[in-house]
Amino acid sequence: MTGFSHWLTAVKGITWRQSSSFFKNPALVLPSLLFPMLFFAAFAGGLSDLNRIPGFDYEPGYTTFQYVFVLFQSSMFGGIFIGFAVARDFENGFARRLMIATPRRSAIICGYGLAALVRSAFTIVFVTIVALVAGINVLGSPGQIVLLFLLALTSNILGSLWALGIAFRFQTLSVTPLMQIPFFILLFLAPVYVPIQLLRGWIRHVADVNPVTFLLEGGRALMAGTTGPIVTAWLVILIGGIVLGIWSLTGLRAAEKR
């Protein structure tokens, strides 16, 4: 067996294990669905009068506006939750099994990462079905919608890589807040409830440079079939992927040295 095909088999094995213990465990599945749903219900339902405020000019409407946020949020957090699983594996020793049996340990990162993607894809499909029922307007072309989903899914990788880096370094469940909080902050310092033009003061300045802004605005533009910072959004994914990829790989190296 060649090195690469061995590596790939290991990646598949880790993805399969992680996914099957996720889907077999309702205590994990249900929250991952409820969480985005609550968000969606709260904002799209409660704040939909924002449709009528002056300056809100997102053509597909407020529910759709919120749907894009929930899409990215649930995808990124699907990535972060994989960090919880890894921290738990380190706590109970299972990670040692992976570390000892996997000749090329980068397979561990890829396996966990793919499992996070599978999980997010599942959540995205669910959220999207609910959103369609709730009446979102899809104005983008099929190509644009495919790009939107790709963007959301790849943003999941950013969440995974970040959380994996933390999990490898600290190897305990007690640092899970550290995995979530930076993403919470980034998400809420972005134009979550209203378009960026309506933000005022310091929050506007922060939002202007917040990478998540580009993801949300890019995603919303794809959904509406209009122009927006789509290229910048992909640059965020690319640069973020490289930086956080290094973060998680160096984390794995740190874990090897403990």
Binding site: W7, A101, T102
Partner: protein, 324 residues
Amino acid sequence: MSAIEVRGLVREFKKGPRAVDGIDLTVAEGEIYGFLGPNGAGKSTAVLMLTTLLPPTSGTATVAGFDIVKQGPQVRASIGAALQEAALDRFLTGREHIKLQGSLHGMKGADLKQRGNDLLERVGLTDAADRKVGGYSGGMKRRLDLALALLHSPRVLFLDEPTTGLDPQSRSALWDEVARLSREDGVTVFLTTQYLEEADALANRVGIIDHGTIVVEGTPDELKAEVGRSSVEIEPHDAARLADLERALTPFGEPMVTRGTSASIRLNEGVGDVTAIVRALDAQGIVVHQLRLREPTLDDVFLEKTGRSLEGSGDNDEDETPSA
């Protein structure tokens, strides 16, 4: 080529002790090497280094001919390990563990399935294979862990206290299996244990480790021969004559501490002396109620080398940092 070659291996924990403090050892191919020592001696730390889970602070080691630091991937491909705490996922079944472990080693398809079934059969888990591991007993978990360690037919097998917590029956079944692996398949086994009998029964060679250093090494027989001398414990029929008995025994060896009703000595020369002892006692009219001859054990070896008894020694009664 030796299967394991260790030179000056040291591991120092940041805020802890030098858990392994410069060990040297060589294990030949197909040999069973018993690494015997009390709690906190540094056994697991040594295993973690040799299995590439922990980098050494200094020193070198090769396993299956590969350097544990520079050739981690090759080492990992050649070894199997069952660590002290069997690392299993309680939501997966036994068979699912086999599937995962196989894939980590790049195995798949019918080969993996066949090999997995054979091993499950061999460790007696065929019936339980499709049950979640969360419901396994401690012994079943250990057996599954062993099967997983053997899945890719490794040349070198590391077992960290494989029988701790097993009932006598499971223990002897595991001994048989380990002995068979070495005898029939030529697998090299590096086994740590706190049990003298285990090292004695199973290992071709034993290294006794204490406070991170190997205090003595050799075949069980060599080690016992080195301590050398059997001891004899005699209980007089008439307890009042204990003092006479002790006096009569002094020419035959040094006295040892014993319970109040009997006297013990470590014999000066070989076992042949027992008849002489009996004759001497007879001459003085001391009637023997009970006479016990004890062969030296590895515990005597440990006692001789460290001044402590292995049983009950270790972290807790020692002056070292407590383990977490």
